[in-house]
């Protein structure tokens, strides 16, 4: 009877017929009164969303004390009900750090494991795995493998609670411990990455410290003991920040795509797209995100990146269509409203954009892109203080990424608080030193402080990084322009001129560029070329005051210059003088009168009406 009921229950659960599963489970529990059945019933209630009932079932007969799974479940229920204090009460605030396995042991473990294999002491019961056995940690040995997973899960839940309480440092530690205890606790890892709780360097250190060998290998193919470990490691690598160690990244992706046919997988594509995005190859990245969404139209993990790309490439129409579609199908998803906000931002309707960004961030207070977008709307309107406040929130939420810090720095630059700006930017730099944009901003600070040499160094570095990233040159045109300005202010006019020319070649048609080029040419005493450059600038923006001023200056320099440089003039002068002498001679010989001829006044330059026709030969 019991087995019949179990099968029935399992069948119902498989079909998500929760009512019948609850009904049968209840009967089963009445029959057996076993811990296991109580737990499964609670779990069924959890799946059905009856969190309080689920708690009541696990709380019965002090199951909580005996089973980690039950503790996990009830804590999960509390979290689902937003009762984080209660959840913490069950979870306790201590992580079971003694269960952590480290990669230091992993190395020694390897030998151990081969021994273990040869002696065929392989696990026989309850899924006890080899790895558990070979682990040097004695406490860990004692723990049941499933229990370990629940312990890790509880660490993760603890992290969630702390995160809700805005205690991000503690949350981070909890997540990290969760992954350390069970490398396969992807949820914790995902939280760490998604919320960028660690800086790129930290992430890599963390990854290196993880013991992937603790992953049980496929029992069917014990020869490939390492395979699972390597595979997981590679998968995790694709999730790390893209600013550090791109080589490792590429090898990981390479392995995953070539050995496992994962090249089409959306997460791999997403990782690739992120790399392309960080190196400013937007078109290519957009192709990838489009491919992801083609396959899975509502992949919300990739959506923010896709939106950012659409914004970067000015695909307003696509943004419009996408956000309409999302609003129709997923009104409860914060990403939807991020899309709407992005659309308004790209059409320069800032107030609307702001309200939608704030809507998205209200729906999910930990939704980073929405916060950044929200702050951007203030920055776009030049409301420095509010922008700084918003960026600061983002910076608090996402400690691992340099972006909020960098934006803060940019705002402070805009407000001319250079010391504070430098502080922010330096913090950002410690988080990530491979972002050309950040290096560029540091250069800007140096430039504003009047340290042109240092500014030049920064800009050059930024350009070099961009080049190493194989970023298209025109994306970093503004950095190049900054470099040109810094060179100009540093007195290296020839080099500055080269850079300005390069900027123009790369297609920046802006009055300011031509004006600066004109200025440099003026400094180089090439007034004529300066005038030509300034004309180009004024052709683009006829009212530009600086260009006009400089043009007047250049022209007055040109006034000083003679017509022909003197050489020819001598001859002319002599010729005229001879003529003059001749005239004086003839004057004495008496004057021959001639009949009056008609009056010519052919050189009337001031006259408009004569001039226009005359100028037409």
């Amino acid at each position: 009877m019991e087995s019949f009921l179990r099968r029935w229950r399992q069948d119902a659960l498989d079909k998500h017929q929760l009512d019948s599963a609850i009904f049968i489970g209840d009967k089963l529990l009445a029959l057996t009164n076993a811990d296991e059945d109580a737990y499964i019933l609670a779990q069924t209630h959890f799946t059905a969303g009856n969190y309080t009932r689920a708690i009541s079932f696990v709380s019965r007969s002090d199951l909580l004390q005996r089973s980690a799974a039950a503790r996990y479940l009830s804590a999960h229920c509390y979290i689902k009900q937003n009762r984080h204090e209660d959840a913490l009460g069950i979870l306790g605030d201590k992580n079971p750090v003694h269960l952590i396995t480290t990669s230091d042991s992993a190395r020694r473990k390897l030998q151990h494991m081969t021994n273990g294999l040869s002696s065929k002491q392989g696990g026989k019961s309850r899924g006890l795995t080899r790895v558990d056995r070979v682990d040097r940690s004695e406490e860990r040995d004692r723990e049941d493998a499933t229990n370990l997973k629940y312990e890790a899960g509880m660490c993760y839940l603890r992290g969630l609670c702390y995160a809700k309480q805005n205690a991000f440092d503690r949350a981070k530690e909890c997540y990290k411990d969760a992954v350390r205890i069970d490398v396969q606790c992807f949820e914790a890892f995902d939280q760490l990455m998604k919320n960028s709780l660690m800086s790129p360097g930290e992430e890599w250190d963390f990854l290196d410290s993880l013991n992937f060998d603790s992953i049980p290998s496929d029992p069917d193919a014990p020869a490939n003991a390492q395979e699972g470990a390597l595979f997981t490691r590679n998968l995790y690598i694709t999730r790390l920040s893209k600013y550090a160690r791109p080589e490792d990244f590429n090898t990981a992706i390479e392995t995953l795509s070539s050995h496992y046919r994962l090249s089409e997988n959306s997460d791999i594509l997403h990782a690739k797209a992120e790399i392309l995005f960080t190196s400013s190859r937007f078109e290519a990245a957009l192709i990838l995100t489009s491919a992801i969404l083609e396959y899975d139209p509502y992949n919300f993990a990739s959506m923010p990146l896709h939106l950012a790309l659409l914004y970067q490439l000015n695909h307003t129409n696509a943004l419009f269509a996408l956000s309409h579609d999302l609003a129709d199908t997923h009104p409860g998803e914060p990403c939807t409203w991020l899309a709407v906000g992005t659309y308004y931002l790209s059409t320069n309707r800032i107030p609307e954009a702001r309200s939608y960004f704030s809507k998205a961030s209200l729906m999910d207070p930990h939704f980073g892109p929405a916060w950044i977008g929200f702050a951007h709307t203030f920055a776009a309107e030049g409301e420095g203080d509010q922008a700084i406040a918003a960026y600061s929130t983002a910076a608090r939420l996402f400690q691992g990424t340099h972006l909020p810090q960098m934006f803060l720095g940019m705002q402070e630059i805009a407000l001319d608080n250079l010391t504070i700006a430098r502080e922010y930017l330096t913090t950002a730099y410690t988080l990530s030193d491979r972002d050309p944009l950040l290096v560029n901003e540091l250069g800007v600070v140096a430039y504003k402080e009047g340290e042109y040499e240092s500014a030049v160094r920064h800009f050059m570095l930024a350009l070099r990084i961009a080049e190493e990233n194989e970023a298209p040159a025109h994306q970093y045109n503004s950095t190049r322009l900054n470099l040109a300005h810094a060179l100009r202010r540093g007195g290296q006019f020839q080099e500055a001129l080269e850079q300005f020319d390069e900027v123009i070649r790369l297609g920046m048609r802006d009055c300011g560029v031509f004006t600066s080029k004109g200025l440099v040419l003026l400094e180089l005493d090439q007034a004529f070329e300066a005038t030509v450059a300034l004309h180009e600038g004024l052709a683009i923006s006829p009212q530009d005051p600086i260009a006009s001023d400089l043009l007047a200056k250049a022209l007055s320099c040109l006034e000083e210059e003679g017509v022909l440089g003197g050489a020819d003039e001598e001859a002319v002068d002599i010729g005229l003088r001879n003529k003059l002498a001749e005239v004086k001679r003839t004057r004495d010989t008496g004057r021959r009168r001639r009949p009056r001829k008609q009056v010519y006044d052919s050189m009337d330059l001031d006259g408009g009406e004569g001039g226009a026709g005359g100028a037409r030969p």
Partner: protein, 652 residues
């Protein structure tokens, strides 16, 4: 025929190839030019006869002979492989569907916006996912390398056509975005948005092929496009290099020569550039064209022109340029004759006729201009040339608003039509709309910086606005382009004097004097010179300029020089040599005489004062002033020495 028949045949083959190649790449203008040249080798009547004789086999022979000359096997293989797609792309281009044409070979990915199958019933889901992997398959392989790989596999012809289509699409959109002529969106602020994309592709393409130096396996077409795009980005030195490369690789693309010509800003530039040109017949055409644009009319140009005419005896292009050269040399009658015969031979050919209308305007010859206008508008009302001719006609009969309307229409048809910009500037000057005039002239020099009239017009405009240092700059540019015209130098000098740079002003005036006398001494074909100015100078110097110089010296308190130049002005009344005809008495010389009279008076040269003043009285100019002087001198003389008869003698 000046060429031996072998070379003649070779030339024919080359031109024929060029026509086909240009047509394939949708370079219609270059194709037209080459075809005209091809047909001007032999008289049209011959061609007609030949046409009936030659059977199809001959043509086929010619073709088969032509084909292997495409030495790049790989390229031919690629072209063959792409043929059907290429034909489709070409047809799209011919239908002016530029974006579609570009997308045949360079598909631009459409970003994911909304799922297409969301409305489909759910069972279709798996189906669509099944198809998508094949799609993503091609996309996901590192898109950048994928793009460049497809570029590598593409033939140069297809790549050129697709990029050129993209460029044209951008130009079309730019035109649409620019809205009204001289409107707020018109001008360099509205740029061709496709250019950065094209630039990136071409940059990668050439970088992969060894850059500028590596001439192997390039046909010169993409180089031409790269040059054009660089030119649009104002990277002129680089553009020049690439265009030079293009004309060296593929000399029969006239469009590339034209772009190159637009970069030649002065005769010196032409000299410099000619060292890098290929030594063939096209270089001569280029030389003729540039010389014409630069107002060079030395005997060497005519030599080349005559040589070319012996090879291409029926070329309308050469005839047109000959006419233009004569016009620039102020040989108005000869030029007019040539234009007339040109029209007679090619009555439906409108190219260059706007210059003829300028000539008729300057002469002025209203009836001829009217008939030209009606001829042009019966041929095609919506050609920029036609509208320019009409504009000139209306301007001549003083209907300036109508003239502006027609120039605007010409510009709406082609915004890069420099002649119309300049002429519209003239009209706005007439209408006293200085701002619009300046803007028009500015656009004119933007499109073609070799037009001295536009520069001069800019100078005039700014002079009217009393921005003298600006006008000085523009006059200088005009003078640099047209150093043989004393008017330019006089304008420069005038601007200098307004800027209080008197020394420079004097220099410029002197320059004008020299140029004026040189021009008068006779240019290369000075026989039919009927410029009123040169006759007025009468073999000597322009009195106005002399007078202006004198006044400038006066401003500098250099009385010695001032009086000397006044004397010189005065001397223009008589011929330079004994017996030759001078100017006679004019207003200017009279003013100079008055000045001299006052000067002698202040120097105490009473006798000379009396002499000059009496002459003034005789000429009937400034009589009052002169009489006053005479009286004054007399009384002074009477006071000083009453008995001196020598002074009163002539007076009696």
């Amino acid at each position: 025929m000046a060429l031996p028949s072998e070379q003649q045949l070779e030339l024919e083959t080359q031109l024929r190839l060029a026509v086909v190649a240009c047509n394939e790449r949708c370079l219609y203008f270059a194709a037209k030019w080459a075809a005209e040249m091809l047909n001007s080798l032999t008289p049209p009547s011959d061609l007609l006869d030949d046409g009936s004789d030659t059977d199809v086999d001959d043509d086929v022979n010619m073709r088969s002979k032509v084909q292997p000359s495409n030495n790049d096997r790989k390229e031919t293989a690629r072209e063959a492989k792409e043929l059907s797609r290429f034909l489709m792309a070409k047809s799209y281009f011919d239908c002016r569907e530029y974006d579609r044409c570009a997308a045949v070979f360079l598909p631009s990915p459409i970003p994911h916006s909304a799922p297409l199958h969301s409305t489909l019933p759910p069972q279709k889901g798996p189906q669509s996912t099944k198809t998508s992997p094949s799609k993503t398959n091609s996309l996901s392989k590192a898109p950048n390398t994928q793009l460049s790989a497809s570029l590598k596999k593409m033939s140069q012809k297809s790549l050129f056509l697709s990029l050129y289509a993209r460029y044209q699409a951008g130009e079309k959109r730019k035109n649409e975005d620019s809205e009204a002529i001289l409107g707020p969106a018109d001008g360099p602020a509205t740029a061709n948005k496709e250019i950065p994309g094209i630039l990136v592709i071409l940059e990668d393409y050439f970088a992969a092929r060894g850059g500028l130096q590596d001439l192997t396996n390039s046909q010169g077409w993409l180089d031409y496009l790269y040059g054009v795009v660089l030119l649009k980005n104002k990277s002129e030195t680089l553009a020049k290099q690439w265009l030079l490369r293009s004309v060296n690789l593929n000399p029969y693309n006239w469009s590339a020569w034209l772009e190159l010509a637009s970069l030649v800003g002065s005769p010196d530039d032409l000299q410099l550039i000619s060292h890098h040109l290929p030594q063939n017949i096209m270089a001569f055409f280029f030389h003729i064209f540039c010389s014409q644009e630069l107002y060079q009319q030395g005997p060497d140009v005519f030599d080349i022109l005559n040589q070319m005419e012996s090879i291409f005896p029926h070329s309308a292009f050469l005839k047109q340029h000959k006419a233009l050269l004569h016009y620039h040399a102020r040989d108005h009658d000869v030029a007019m004759e040539m234009f007339d015969s040109l029209i007679k031979e090619h009555p439906r050919r409108l190219d260059g006729l706007e210059v003829y209308s300028n000539l008729l305007y300057v002469l002025p010859n209203r009836p001829k201009l009217a008939s030209l206008a009606s001829l042009a508008s019966s041929t095609d009302k919506f050609r920029p040339e036609t509208n320019c001719i009409l504009g000139n006609y209306y301007s001549l009969i003083s209907e300036h608003e109508k003239a502006v309307l027609h120039f605007r229409r010409a510009l709406a048809l082609d915004r890069n039509y420099q002649a119309a910009w300049t002429l519209m500037g003239h009209e706005y000057i007439e209408l006293k709309n200085t701002q619009a005039a300046i803007e028009s002239y500015r656009r004119a020099v933007d499109t073609n910086r070799k037009d001295y009239r536009a520069w001069y017009g800019l100078g005039q405009g700014y002079e009217m606005l009393e921005c003298y240092s600006y006008s000085l700059f523009y006059y200088q540019r005009a003078a640099a382009l047209c150093p043989g015209d004393p008017k330019m130098w006089a304008a420069v000098a005038h601007a200098y004097s307004k800027c209080n740079k008197i020394a420079n002003a004097i220099q410029a005036y002197k320059r004008a004097l020299v140029v004026g006398s040189q021009m008068d001494a006779g240019s290369s074909f000075g026989s039919g010179n009927n410029d009123p100015l040169s006759q007025a100078v009468g073999g000597a110097l322009d009195p106005q300029i002399l007078y202006d110089i004198a006044l400038l010296y006066e401003r500098e308190n250099n009385w010695e020089e001032a009086s000397a130049y006044m004397e010189l002005t005065l001397a223009q009344e008589e011929g330079a040599d004994e017996g030759s005809e001078g100017l006679g008495v004019t207003q200017i010389t009279s003013r100079a005489r008055l000045w001299l009279a006052r000067w002698s008076y202040s120097c105490g040269e009473w006798q000379r004062t009396m002499e000059l003043a009496n002459e003034l009285c005789q000429d009937g100019v400034e009589v009052e002033e002169a009489k006053g002087l005479v009286k004054d001198v007399r009384s002074r003389l009477a006071l000083a020495d009453v008995t001196d008869d020598s002074i009163t003698g002539p007076e009696a």
